[in-house]
Subunit: 169 residues, 2 copies
Amino acid sequence: MSNQLQQIISDTQTSLRSNPELGKTIFNSRSALQEGFHSEVNLRQHQITVDEPLTLGGTDQGPNPVELILAALGTCQEITYRAYATALGIPLESVSVELEGELDLRGFFAVNDQVRAGYQQIKGTVRLQSNASAEKLQQLRDVVNAHCPVLDILTNPVPVKLDLRIVHN
Amino acid sequence: MSNQLQQIISDTQTSLRSNPELGKTIFNSRSALQEGFHSEVNLRQHQITVDEPLTLGGTDQGPNPVELILAALGTCQEITYRAYATALGIPLESVSVELEGELDLRGFFAVNDQVRAGYQQIKGTVRLQSNASAEKLQQLRDVVNAHCPVLDILTNPVPVKLDLRIVHN
């Protein structure tokens, strides 16, 4: 598995160096609100159910959107650790992530316009099991944090453009 | 449902005005990488399976982390539309969102350090079915975009602090 993955990474890098235009990738989502705050999302052939907890007016049929943000960050860190450990030949037996996101509901509920609607901060712990030296693993961490797509998305602004289409009954 | 939701929103606003400290909320995630790029995430009692597509070295058992980002934004928009339409008494029969995120893989694969690892942009369409006037729905859009937690998280930087814990074999 590890050799195979190393080969995929190395082949992809070679291919992207010779053909930079192959790097451009589009990801898509389609979602539709059902009753209340429950929504069903399609991501290629995959489905996710999203909802709000009872305390926020939902029926708790799934995680809520800001929990998905934490899931995205945790898994992106893990995948990026495995990819770069493999590419750099650093042994990595396991990687797991615990995160907490701190949010002040006064933002979403428009109670105080000085309070942002999203996370004020996200903090957490990345646990690595490895027999590599601490120094080597800290170097790995630096490479991972410089190339983790979701960490970049959260810590730097992403331009978002949403068009509104209105269908009158 | 709509009256009940309106009551929940109004009660929450009243409560947060008198007790601002109640606004502070913590969301959590715990995830652990399995074989390859496949990870299992726990968000309270909910589970999500994350993986990469075959073309990116995964086994495609679930959406990937950057697809979760799109799912988070689409569903957060929908929930915020329903919440504010309800709070403001604007009729809203349905809301759905299609998104596309554009990413250049040269960032993740460290082929070009000038290329960011995350989305270069996200664009999409929000579809509302309603018999309210276009003007009223555009006002609704402005209120939604000012209070949608995930839109804020993506368009403005979030401080992220990750500690590294190393377990030697």
